[in-house]
Amino acid sequence: MSEKPRKIEITDPVTITVDGREVTAQNGELLIDACERNDAYIPRFCYHPRMNPVGMCRMCLVEVDTGRGPALQPSCMIPVAAEMVVDTKNEQVSKAQDGILEFLLANHPLDCPVCDKGGECPLQDQTMAYGPGESRWVEEKRHYEKPIAISETVYLDRERCILCDRCTRFAKDVAGDPLIHFIDRGSNTEIATFPDEPFSSYFSGNTVQICPVGALTAKPYRFRARPWDLEEVESTCTGCSVGCRITVQSSRNQVLRFQGVDSDPVNWSWLCDKGRFGFEAINSEERLAEPLMLSSDGTLSPGRWAEALNAAADAIRAADPTSVAVIGGAQLTNESQYAWAKFAKGIIGTDHVDAQLGDGLAAEVVLGLPGATIDQVCAPGSTVLYMGPDPKEELSVLYIRLKHAAQEDGVQIIELSPAASGLSPYASSSLHYRPADLPKLVEALLAGELPDQGLPGIDAAEFTKASQALLAAEQNLHVVIGRANLAESADCVAVAASAVHQAIPGATFLSALRRANLRGALEAGLTPGMLPGRSSLAEHGQAWKELWGSVPSTAGMDTTQILQAAAASKIDVLILLGADPLADFADRSLARRGVAGARTVISLDRFLTASTRQADIVFPIAGFSECEGTHTNLEGRVTRLNQKVTPPGTARTDWMIAAELAALLGKDLGVERDAHELWDEFTAHSAVHAGVSSAALDHPDAADGLLLDLGPRPFVTPVAPHVAPQSSYSLRLIVNRTLYDQGTEIHHCDSSSGLAPAASVRLSPADAAPLGAEDGTQVTVSSPHGSITAALIVDSGVPKGSAVLRHNLEGADPGLLIDSADVVCEIRVEVS
């Protein structure tokens, strides 16, 4: 099986004898792992190194002698103890293995020729290695309808199931979605969902990867390839900023599958379904393959690269540098980000560069606070102050790690969020504040007492519990920050984080921002006022000027300001690096006016999006697994992205376009052959990148990537935003994301695109009752800026006084309600 035993540090060594050799093992670890680590692999089906053992399949029987004579024991259930004598290969053991396999095969169909697992099937492999050569079984085998869909993407063939309990344990213990279960008993046992309640877990694809037979298969891969036809490279998922390690598997220049790789500091072999099945977007028919240019009839039509590049260079040359702006870049490789930072700031000379679309946190906050890794956040003994988005929806595998930390390692999670999240059931305390109250809540928690008049929605007893846990944590406090509410100013969480930083200097911070390589973009300087390597324009401008020849003289604008300037016709060239402000910027009206107001819009994208459709020049881009490079995840962990297939048509990598444009402007970006040169230049000049040079990344010990220097930088305390008092008959708006939405990526994945829910308005039972509304009632939500209509969902996870809308779903656009100038968005809800 592809799973590897967990790497452990031996702190309590004992000596045991394995097949006649004396070896050292960790006291209490499972015998199956100890043997494997000492080159005595024991066959197994049900044991998985990332799940608790159950002793279900008995394939791992070995002869163990603890002084009372040898006996067959399941090695996945036996903790190692000093002086154990183990035989993994003798005749007794072989006979047991042979017998177990014969039992398992008694009901197993002869499906191998038509089974997707064939060629990588543990049952096939172990039968060949340890099993009876022939079957004595002449009776009828049990029969079931062949495969039944247990969810939109996963199919179950019950005849092939060997009842190992891996999928069900995963669903319950790892994902926390116990939607599949063994039903019935004895030889009638089968895996089943509840009638009409499919296995719609965000993590369902993992069960397909860990099923030791072909009982579970995933629709996107069924009958697409044979394992021996696949080629693979390791890479990092760029579906979100967690940065799970994966293998990219392809056949005939087409990516066919992603499989999770067990990266100890990050994803422990798990992936979310959005990431796992995200490869479908790579193969989409709608990928842009040629440059597009606005023709005289007002439509985008295919053009040649030379034409498009010249047109773009002309537009940039004609514009004053301060009227050129760049938005986006969070999906690029580190190298392309550096190239674009250098091109925009060093060559064009504009600092109006922002990789975030108003939905993140200020770069000073992300880069300035002392950093924490996922491992530190989740380590036993840690206390986590969670002030981020719903991790199950936005950073799914981080949710798995946090859930494990809380349930298995006793980590205390204090969750502060505007509404209940997927993490709430595992938090030791969960406080739901009114939007914009976070700074006040954190201040009160740190002071140990609630203000006299209390805080809306905060229960005094729960508050005291949270406050005590927070104050007791000291050095073990890890703070996760992010945007739990896109309709609330980012300053609120910045102020709260800064208050914790002041009060508890030992606390470290993990920024949970969703966009894949956003951390890399900020580190590369794709943000106003900053240059690569966490250097600020004001302080370190000179050093970079020496390297680049020039840097902008003053700090530029962020996306909100850029769009405002564009709306006022002050932006001549707006460059969109894979950004789609028309879908992603929270204030819809400003996004529309901004994109329409820019004189020339140049877009680099893989797909036609709402924003690229408005562009004058569109460059097709090589995306994930189509180019080499590196990636920085939310912790600041740099890993390699590897190329597996060629990009469609003439699509190029982003840095190449920067280099070409630089050349057309008569400048040199300093890259001749490949992206490595950019990385070498970047890492040589950035102190925080000193440890992640190409050579260091290629070291075999760096398989899980390498961390940037996470030490604190000078941190400017943000000013608390002023919030007008809430009027008594309005509600405050919460806008958050779901895993599946109408985003471009998901939209181009056939198996995931249908999974996005329809838009809805969620209200607490207390706010729904006076309206006389129930689930499904059409309600109108209005703010001073606009109104939308959607179906109501009464949700007890929403606190009284707030309403939740989801970002980017079909049917109702919360962007129409929001004005980015407001700290919070006050709304009214009425039955339409």
Binding site: P178, H181, D184, R185, A192, F194, P195, D196, E197
Partner: protein
């Protein structure tokens, strides 16, 4: 829709309170639902899941392990004829065939009047009284085909209603637990040392303390 009646919902909540962990009430609540409806309907399982805080699939998985929970509607009387060794030797199979003819259904079937469900059961531990039959788990011993016909007749006429209550009925008199009689088991996470261990430890400590207090005695004797 079959959900708990208001009275049963109250009872369900009371049952849940008897356990330190709500999920432990799953099986008692399945019994309660089966008593109400004669079988365990899907929406009952979904409601039980809500009440004890787990998923419907977990309730289904737990309940389907047990033969005595019926997942689809059955007759008022579940009539099981044993065809295992002892009963087989003494005419169990013939008895089953006779029952099939009398009732006009195959094992697993239910008569159209909704009164009888016929089952072919494995040994029900009444081998000395073979051939044995059970109706809603009440035993009838050493039956001849004629005895069986008579039994069916009596069941149909209601003559045996006192002896054999409708399928799902748990007991003729519900054990009504007053709040004061609930055992109040401490939740596992709050459980302290079991009393016998505590006593053992206290004795050992007392002995050690006594030893420590009288070192001089030991010295004198030596």
């Amino acid at each position: 829709m079959s959900r708990f009646s208001t009275a049963n919902l109250r009872l369900a909540q009371e049952i849940i309170r008897r356990y330190p962990v709500a999920k432990s009430a799953t099986i008692p609540l399945c019994h309660l639902a089966q008593e109400q409806d004669g079988y365990l309907a899907d929406d009952s399982m979904a409601q039980i899941a809500e009440l004890v805080g787990c998923s419907s699939a977990e309730v289904l998985g737990t309940a389907s392990f047990y033969e005595m929970f019926k997942m689809h509607s059955v007759g008022k009387f579940c009539l099981g004829v044993c065809t295992n060794i002892s009963c087989q030797l003494l005419g169990g199979e013939e008895l089953l065939e006779h029952a099939e003819q009398t009732l006009g259904i195959r094992p697993g079937g239910t008569t159209t009047d909704g009164l009888f469900t016929l089952e072919d059961v494995e040994c029900i531990a009444a081998c000395t009284e073979a051939p044995a039959v059970q109706v809603n788990y009440r035993y009838f011993h050493r039956l001849t085909p004629q005895d069986l016909d008579q039994l069916i007749e009596e069941l149909r006429s209601g003559a045996l209603d006192d002896v054999v209550p409708a399928h799902g009925t748990l007991g003729k008199v519900r054990q009504d637990l007053g709040e004061d009689r609930i055992a109040n088991i401490t939740p596992p996470e709050d459980q302290t040392e079991p009393v016998w261990l505590r006593r053992h430890r206290e004795l050992a400590e007392a002995a050690a303390a006594a030893d420590a207090a009288t070192p001089s005695t030991a010295g004198k004797e030596s």
